[in-house]
């Protein structure tokens, strides 16, 4: 009761008073105090409702890790095709009757094309020797009277100016020469793989959009239930002068935490899955005699996933709390 005299003085008539706001409070510090309270309040709510928090986080994390894992799969396949693209050569097989000189002349002419970097002449003798060596049929082949293989030219196209249509055109040009019997592009299957991956990327996009919607719904619904539980508190706060943004803040932060922590959990899931895959992929690549290292999510991708999941959480919470306020506001 020691405060009484002071209070009386303050309440004296005609005394200048601004009782509802202390003079040293700037709008920013008011806002900051509210935000601070909303952050700690929303975090405490997650902490003290561990079961529902973990269920929600797990649902979000699973929804997020699916597109992340698919993305990673495509990325790894891309590095696979990229590696092999370092030597995209075109094999040009000449007709049987073409002589070595004719073949070399044609090779000269081809090397002058602007799309071509080098042309390597592979004589039929060389080709046979190589075939003997690799096939293990050496003795059988020895009995042949005549070399069944044609001369060949191995053409390396200029990668810097090459795209799929130009490559097709070059192949068509090569085929049109009278000496040429057949043309085979080594990277045809690469092109096919790339086309498949283009489709895969679209699929990932669609899946990502659907799962983003799922995250939105999960967060929205969790926040809606939270609002339902705190309806009385919201009403009381409104009665005594809470603004809409004050009501919104803790829920928006709640949504942010769900999104953000769900995102972190999904990164953990993805990394664990990769860890799980490393041993079998290594075994597979040794079987194929290649070196293929599975790569994880890089920093920037992880960062974007967290940003996106945080935003999804905020949007989901915003929708939930705004629709509640709109429905509730009619009465007062």
């Amino acid at each position: 009761m020691a405060r009484r005299p002071r209070a009386r003085k303050r309440n004296a008539p005609r005394a200048k008073k601004r009782r509802n706001r202390s003079p040293h409070y700037s709008p920013f510090s008011t806002w900051w105090n509210q935000v601070n309270a909303a952050i700690s309040f929303s975090l405490r709510r997650l902490w003290y409702n561990p079961i529902s928090t973990w269920i929600t986080l797990a649902a979000i994390a699973i929804a997020l890790s699916l597109p992340a894992a698919l993305h990673l799969m495509v990325k790894n396949m891309q590095t696979l095709t990229d590696d092999n693209q370092q030597i995209p050569t075109i094999s040009v097989f000449l007709k049987q009757h073409i002589s070595t000189d004719q073949a070399k002349d044609r090779g000269e002419l081809i090397s002058e094309l602007s799309e071509v970097v080098t042309v390597l002449f592979v004589s039929k003798e060389n080709a046979l020797n190589k075939f003997k060596r690799l096939s293990g049929f050496a003795e059988t082949l020895e009995t042949l009277e005549e070399n069944p293989l044609p001369h060949a030219l191995v053409v390396t196209p200029n990668l810097r100016i090459m795209n799929d249509t130009k490559l097709t055109n070059l192949i068509r040009t090569l085929k049109s020469y009278p000496e040429v019997d057949a043309v085979q592009s080594d990277n045809e299957w690469m092109q096919r793989l790339r086309a498949i991956m283009d489709i895969a990327e679209r699929v990932i996009l669609v899946v990502s959009v659907l799962l983003a919607l799922t995250v939105l719904l999960v967060v929205g619904n969790t926040i809606r239930l939270d609002i339902e539980n705190r309806k009385e508190e919201i009403d009381v706060a409104r009665f005594i002068g809470a603004t809409r943004s004050y009501i919104r803040q803790p829920f928006i932060f709640g949504g942010l935490w769900y999104g953000f922590f769900g995102g972190i959990l999904s990164l953990v899931i993805v990394h664990f899955s990769i860890f799980f895959l490393i041993a079998p992929t290594n075994r597979l690549s040794t079987l194929y005699g290649t070196q293929f290292n599975i790569s994880g999510l890089d920093f920037s991708t992880s960062f974007y996933i967290l940003i996106a999941s945080g935003l999804l959480g905020i949007v989901g919470a915003w929708i939930a709390v705004t629709s509640h306020l709109r429905r509730r506001e009619i009465t007062f």
Partner: protein, 215 residues
Amino acid sequence: MIEFKQISKKYPTGQLALYNVNLTLQKGEMAFLTGHSGAGKSTLLRLIAGLEQPSDGTLMIEKTDVGKLKTKQIPLYRRRIGMIFQDHHLLADRSVFDNVALPLRITGLHHRDIRRRVHAALDKVSLLNKEKQNPMMLSAGEKQRVGIARAVVNKPKIILADEPTGNLDPELAQDIMYTFKQFNDLGATILVASHDHHLIEHMRKRIIVLQKVNV
């Protein structure tokens, strides 16, 4: 200070709760509002508190035309008024301290100032020793005093109370009324709705009788 000019209030349900009410309360005045159940006492208080808008007439509170407030201004207006509710509206999920602190948190005060002011308010209703308790564990009279502390913690110039002594025994009821009188002595304008005639006559303050609207 508080001026009702030909105020009518019709609820969306079509219920006419107040019809053509004229009433003036001076600054620093303390008055009791009485009348039969359904006469519109709660409605009248809710209008002053900014929880309802008048359907007709002009309601001036300290130079503010309450009927003309924009949606955005209403929360700020509500903070200027301390309201004690009929069913006290205390939150069961937090301590007495946090219940009383709510209006200050809404205003965005720093927690240091919040603590100081909440303690001052609890001190005024002699509940400082119960600040950590859950309000649901308190007796009816104590609950009502927590509601009073919450209403006055923001130091409003107008304090409204809707049946604050509804289910209290006479002695406690009188205590509560004296608490209001103390705030009135400090300069606050006070309007208390009550149908306890014996009690309000004893207080020797102005008594406003509200007649039920006959349709």
